[in-house]
């Protein structure tokens, strides 16, 4: 069938923003749950937060913020038709994203080592509020981690598309949209950091 050629970059960005709204509401449900539980168990959340490694959390924040910057730089480079530089910045973003996941996995491993995971015998002996705290911690950072992985996959495709000129100076809305998604992943982390790591 004859597909009409239709291109609307503004429409594509609008669609992406609407999608980001759904993502924010998705996490919004968890934030509602978090606020209710924290209101119910202020002391337990304080103790739970003390178990988390704030230093690693802050390092990860810096890593993720920097990766957001490099995405923007990649878009600027494409706009200026500097393909190699755009690819270098995208590569840096990917590397930083992977770094984030590695640090995260060390944190999770430490929690598992200390028996602080849902259904763990040790966690079962702690007060109920702390059990909920760690339930939420794993759910929210886990879901965020999945978003990081999704973002990295999308950005890898973008790197490939830049390399094969499917993303080019006159046509880069896909890269822009991927960048928007990556910023969202970043923004959500900025909320997760104080809610969990700085809760103590």
């Amino acid at each position: 069938m004859s597909e009409h050629v239709h291109r609307d970059d503004f429409g594509a960005r609008l669609g992406m923003w609407l999608f980001l709204v759904t993502e924010i509401v998705l996490f919004g449900g968890l934030f509602i749950g978090y606020s209710y539980m924290r209101y119910k168990y202020p002391m337990e959340f304080h103790h739970g937060g003390a178990e988390l490694n704030a230093t690693l959390g802050i390092i990860n924040t810096v890593v993720l913020l920097t990766s957001s910057l490099t995405v923007v730089l990649a878009i600027v480079a494409i706009q200026r038709a500097e393909k190699k530089r755009a690819m270098a910045f995208l590569g840096t973003t990917l590397a930083l994203g992977v770094t984030f996941l590695i640090i995260k996995s060390f944190e999770w491993a430490a929690k598992f080592h200390h028996g602080l995971y849902p259904n763990a015998p040790h966690l079962g002996t702690l007060p109920p509020g702390e059990q909920v705290f760690f339930g939420l911690y794993f759910t929210m950072t886990g879901l965020h981690g999945l978003h990081v992985i999704a973002g990295l996959s999308v950005l890898s495709v973008m790197l490939w598309w830049v390399a094969t000129d499917r993303v080019r100076p006159d046509r880069y809305v896909h890269l822009e949209n991927s960048g928007l998604y990556w910023h969202l992943v970043d923004v959500i982390w900025i909320f997760l950091l104080p809610l969990f790591y700085l809760a103590a």
Binding site: M1, H4, L18, L26, E44, P128, L136, T139
Partner: protein, 539 residues
């Protein structure tokens, strides 16, 4: 209105690409074909769920029966609810008529993201298949009811996880459709198609899309939490670990109440298209209807806890939610008054779509008014979890959305398929539908007032008479529905060719040939006036 000049371009039903037949349909990005794909799948699901409902009514023919076990009965009402809600009523009108007609009504060639549109249909089918799989795998068919309330949904051995995941996937389909429609309305209106020149169906779809966008992710995350709770025991809904089952109810209804408006708003939109066409005059109160759609979407998002008046909330909360519930009745009533005022002094051309549209208004009025009753706190305590609730929401969802769907199908069928159905047969089908419907669901309202609890698979002798009335009603209803669908199916194959404008409508779809050509418009029209501009009026 003149008939459309013979066009050189083939209709959208003809395969012109490399792929032919079924494969061409399964890979199509044409919004019209996708709408038809949805139509066929949804009517199939509807008939299955109707059969399940039919069996449930049969079970109630005896006070103590041994036809099926209690566990099977639980599975049946869960299945009936899940299929009807998630596979028919929620996606119903937007996915079928929204897809088919939204671009045409605003003068566009397709939706903003055609490939995403096809992906939505695949998500829909994947969700449907997962829902069916959940019946036969794991611990057996879920027995929680369609609302998957914690803590029971966390503890039951049946296959809740897969059913919940199916609903999650279906939510994705709904969200992506919402994104697509909003972008389409913002970006693809034809030149001169200003916001207040759009047909009101578009306003209804626009408000619906916003609810789909803003509410669906909440239920998505809630269902994910149920799955995580079942597999890993994260504890957020489990009181033993400090969680709170009431939080589940809140999160669930934050989506699922607005979802009621996802169901009803597009049906209202379709009714708003039908009434001016058969009254042959412009709609009364265009802006009031447009804004009432947005108001329903807005206020309707703030009333969810009226499902939880007996769940243990503070008095202040129940009071506020009761008040907001009453308020949401206002924009709905505005629409009803506008429809009736449009008919007043119109030159009414009585045709099957109008008959079903009027049926919609009648049944929806009963559904809406019984809804206000339940919003009142004192009455709610008495009728909570009784057949009254079941009767009420069938009046709204079936009498409202269902009849709206049937009316819309009658209205647009000639345009979609280029075939005309037998009007006589449709009139004949209407009588058993209307009589059976009211016997069945008004019977339920009475049963609920008498105290018959919902979801029980046996009943006490004092409820027996009304149960028999309701069951006999269900036979009439099924008979009428089968006649209705049979008539349309016959018309699809053997019906005479439909005219381009069989009803004398004036919105853009009636300027196209029946069925429309692949690109809808040979040249994009320029719009110079409002949508319901009837010639005899302007004289």
């Amino acid at each position: 209105m003149t008939t459309h000049a013979a066009t050189a371009q083939p209709s959208y039903l003809v395969d012109t690409g490399k792929r032919k037949g079924l494969l061409a349909w399964l890979t199509t990005t044409d919004h019209k074909r996708i709408g038809v794909l949805y139509l066929y799948s949804m009517i199939s699901f509807f008939l299955i769920a109707m059969g399940v409902g039919f069996v449930m009514r049969l079970v109630q023919l005896t006070t103590f029966q041994k036809l099926i076990t209690a566990q099977t009965y639980n599975a049946l009402f869960t299945l009936h609810g899940v299929i009807m809600i998630f596979l028919f009523v929620i996606p119903g009108l937007p996915a079928v008529f929204g897809n088919f007609f939204l671009p045409i009504l605003i003068g566009a060639k397709d939706v903003a993201f055609p490939r995403l549109n096809l992906a939505s249909w695949y998500f829909f089918m994947a969700g449907a298949i997962l829902a069916v799989l959940s019946l036969f795998t794991g611990g057996g068919a879920p027995d929680t009811g369609w609302s998957f309330y914690a803590p029971f949904s966390l503890k039951t051995g049946t296959n809740v996880s897969l059913a919940v995941f199916a609903a999650f996937v279906l939510g994705f389909s709904s969200m992506l459709t919402g994104i697509n429609f909003i972008t389409t309305i913002h970006r693809l209106r034809a030149p001169g198609m200003k916001w207040f020149r759009m047909p009101l169906m578009c306003w209804a779809l626009y408000s619906t899309s916003w609810i789909q966008l803003l509410a669906t992710p909440i239920v998505a995350i809630t269902l994910v939490l149920v799955i995580l709770e079942r597999f890993f025991g994260i504890g957020i809904f489990d009181p033993a670990k400090g969680g709170d089952p009431l939080l589940y109810q809140h999160l669930f209804w934050i989506y699922s109440h607005p979802a009621v408006y996802i169901m009803i708003l597009p049906a209202m939109g379709a009714i708003t298209e039908i009434i001016p066409t058969f009254a042959k005059r412009t709609i009364f109160g265009y802006k009031a209807i447009a804004f009432s759609s947005m108001a329903i979407a807005g206020v309707g998002s703030l009333v969810w806890a009226h499902h939880m008046f007996t769940s243990g909330m503070s008095n202040l909360a129940t009071l506020l939610f009761s008040l907001l519930t009453m308020i949401v009745a206002v924009p709905s009533a505005i629409k009803v008054f506008n429809w009736v005022s449009t008919l007043y002094k119109g030159s009414i051309d009585f045709q099957p779509p109008l008959l079903f549209a009027l049926t919609f208004i009648f049944l929806f009025a009963i559904g809406g008014l019984t809804g206000v009753m339940q919003g009142a706190l004192a009455i709610n305590v008495h009728i909570h979890d009784t057949y009254f609730i079941v009767g009420h929401f069938h009046y709204v969802m079936f009498g409202g959305t269902g009849m709206g769907f049937f009316a819309a199908l009658l209205y647009w069928f000639p345009k979609m398929f280029g075939k005309m159905y037998s009007k006589k047969a449709i009139y004949v089908s209407w009588f058993p539908i209307f009589i059976g419907f009211n016997m069945l669901y008004f019977g339920m309202l009475i049963l609920g007032m008498m105290g018959m609890p919902r979801r029980y698979y046996v009943h006490l002798p004092q409820f027996h008479t009304m149960h028999v009335v309701a069951t006999v009603g269900s036979w009439f209803l099924v008979l009428g529905l089968l006649t209705y669908f049979g008539t349309l199916l016959y018309a699809l194959f053997k019906g005479p060719k439909a005219e381009d404008n069989p009803w004398g409508g004036v919105t853009l779809e009636w300027t196209l040939p029946s069925p429309p050509i692949q690109e809808n418009f040979e040249t994009i029209p320029t719009i110079t006036h409002g949508p319901y501009h009837f010639e005899q009026e302007s004289k």
